[in-house]
Symmetry: C2
Subunit: 432 residues, 2 copies
């Protein structure tokens, strides 16, 4: 590589600006950064004040012209969203450009198509910034950890929901209050659905599962529940029982196949993920023979995400310096897409909060019903209300989800149970 | 690469056996592992029962013959200790073999010599297993994180001392009791000095600092204190003040240069490193623009360390597949060896426990003395003893170590102070 690599940046928002900031101040960073030059930057409008300055002719509103420009080596896609991001990435690939992207939505849905196109064109597509912001997780999964048989990945990979759950726990506030606060602070969007309903985490665990297990997972296969149902009282009870409630994204190898899911989960306080607070992310990887390793850090933010984007650029520069051959470390899934294990077959612990009229025999009836469905209880705690109602909190040992759901469905029909409500059913991190 | 890569393994202890175990069961691991073959294994004696079986002629007691064998591509050094490990590594390099080693003692002392020899011979020397056991830290520092300006590395990188400190905290026991227990459990050596006096952590932070800052650090430059002086009562007081005591290895960029040190440190309970318990390791890297990222996992053990060894083997296989050229990602320090910042110039917080005769004016005298030396106090707590003595616990704001030491030296000469003892002086993780 005699000349600098020329890159075209699509998007100059927070991450794009921070990416340019790193490349324009290469001192005390990896020496290869000096060999990367920002040649074009695609923006929506030219007449806006920017935090970084570029030479005349670098800024353009013509994104198509960037991805087809024969002078560019790499396209960095940072505009987000599905279209035109997907089409621009594919067009850049078909014009022999390497691609770096932070776009988890595009990769989780169209990753297979994009990687196939890249393999045909002989270019790299690197995605370190798509999951976990600045935390190095994609590359360790592909390299250092890939000599292990990966058993599971457990992640807190959505900062917004972790911020909300942390606030709810420390302040005792309810979901809707804290959501409003998070929106005012800019930690949650006006339309918070992608975060609070778990879709963003689902995108990310789809990507991690595909890499870790070498099997193409698709987003539609992922079972997904958000945090809207988690109440302040659930967090209090969990606390009393020794747990924190976290929105976990989980990919697990089961005997019958892979299981991939996102849902609020009770995590024992002594578990490494229990202490991950605020907008931080953490990903816990378990494999043989390594045991557990965890990666922790800022899951979002311009600077952190830009660190991941630029590390991908540097890695492309390094690989091109060695050879034009395709990097064998970028492993394409070895297995075709398969069915995941359905959520009914999940083996986990459960927490349920049950309210009904307080009369003798309630606990006994519940115990018998759970037993009949092979649901073994770890604890059952009754709190009596003043108004004649009892609130009963149940934590199970490992059970099959299907059995637990059948038991729950039968409870309203039990003799001693009247005016029942089951305001909360949550999964508890399973026992070993 | 048409043929499998042939490796020679030096040492078949816990890590060697686990390394062979991974290579001999490549299913569900990275496909490149199938292209690595164990051709020779060097051991002390042939007539010992082993957990893994090898074909006839693979085991040998002639280590020299392995490192000079023209049929071998890679030598994996797992015998530990300084000699003959260093000589064998250098001889392997001079015979054009790539080297993978877990030997932190050799790399921290002779890394410069070894890397220079490797650069001349055009071979790789990979050391992921030398720090943090299975935790991927060397490669992320060289790759993903290297686009950042690294400001600091804080690590709990010695499992034995962390186990001892955790036990002392949970059981209220004293150092010597817990050390005996750790020795019985096999977590501490019969001669525990390398661990409890901080030398093992010093080896490892030397390696991390050299990589992170691109500057050759040598072991003799590292200021090193172990945990023998930490008492159960210090841990209790720290607890009351909201801290955990951890043996931290710290490399920090200061305005005047680098500072590298190992010492017991009070860590605020809400800090990510405060929750790292038992034999686990964690490394917290802080840089611009990424902020803080932490890597956590098993810092020792056969399987975890073997995972790191084999990931290095796989990376060599991958790089050789691309080209015989030297990998530009393996950055050799860009700067020559420089002076580190002396410990006297350290700016940190301090904790001190002072015992003296309880008389009026003691606190005032102490406060005035600290103030005179520009030491600002965060808290000063007096506990009266029955026997006429007072125990006083002091925590400072950020101060210069030199100023604090001068104040301490003056305390015995103060008017109100009689029969003084200062049983503990510990550093507290500094304020931002």
């Amino acid at each position: 590589m005699v000349e600098a690599l020329k890159i075209g940046l699509l998007g100059l928002g927070t991450v794009g600006t921070a990416t340019a900031g790193i490349l324009l101040s290469p001192e005390s960073r990896h020496p290869l950064l000096k060999e990367i030059e920002i040649a074009k930057v695609g923006v929506k409008t030219l007449d806006k004040r920017r935090a970084v300055e570029f030479a005349d002719g670098v800024l353009t509103t013509d994104l198509e012209a960037i991805v087809t420009d024969p002078d560019l080596d790499i396209v960095v896609e940072l505009i987000g969203g599905l279209e035109p991001a997907r089409s621009l990435i594919l067009k850049a690939i078909s014009h022999q450009k390497h691609v770096v992207t932070a776009n988890k939505a595009v990769i989780s849905r169209y990753g297979e198509e994009i990687y196939r196109a890249a393999a045909e064109a002989g270019v790299y597509v690197l995605i370190e910034a798509a999951v976990g912001g600045g935390i190095p997780i994609i590359r360790p999964l592909q390299q250092s950890l890939s000599v292990n048989r990966i058993d599971s990945i457990l992640g807190i990979i959505n900062g917004t929901t972790n911020f909300i759950l942390t606030k709810m726990a420390t302040e005792g506030s309810d979901f809707s209050e804290v959501l409003t606060e998070a929106q005012e602070l800019g930690y949650a969007e006006a339309d918070p659905s992608a975060d609070v309903d778990g879709y963003d985490a689902a995108d990310k665990i789809t990507i991690l599962a595909t890499l870790a297990f070498g099997e193409q997972v698709s987003l539609e296969q992922v079972s997904c529940e958000g945090i809207r149902q988690v109440s302040a009282v659930d967090i209090q009870y969990a606390e009393r029982l020794g747990f924190e409630i976290k929105l976990l994204a989980i990919a697990q190898r089961e005997q019958s196949g892979l299981q991939v899911r996102v849902h609020p989960t009770l995590v024992p306080k002594e578990h490494p993920l229990a202490n991950i607070d605020g907008v931080n992310n953490a990903i816990l990887v378990e494999g043989d023979p390594i045991g557990q390793v965890m990666f922790y850090g800022p899951g979002a933010g311009g600077g952190a995400t830009a660190s991941a984007v630029v590390s991908d650029l540097m890695n492309i520069a390094a690989m091109l310096k060695v050879s034009q051959a395709v990097n064998p470390l970028l492993k394409i899934p070895q297995h075709p897409r398969r069915e995941l294990v359905p959520i009914q077959e999940l083996v986990t612990r459960f927490y349920a909060r049950i309210i009904c009229i307080d009369r003798p025999g309630v606990i006994g009836n519940l115990g018998t019903c759970f037993g009949k469905h092979k649901v073994s209880l770890e604890s059952i705690v009754q709190i009596d209300f003043n108004n004649g109602f009892a609130e009963i909190v149940v934590v199970t040992h490992n059970v099959k989800e299907e059995n637990f759901r059948q038991a729950l469905a039968e409870i309203p029909h039990l003799d001693a149970i009247e005016q029942i409500q089951i305001p909360s059913v949550l999964r508890v991190l399973r026992e070993k």
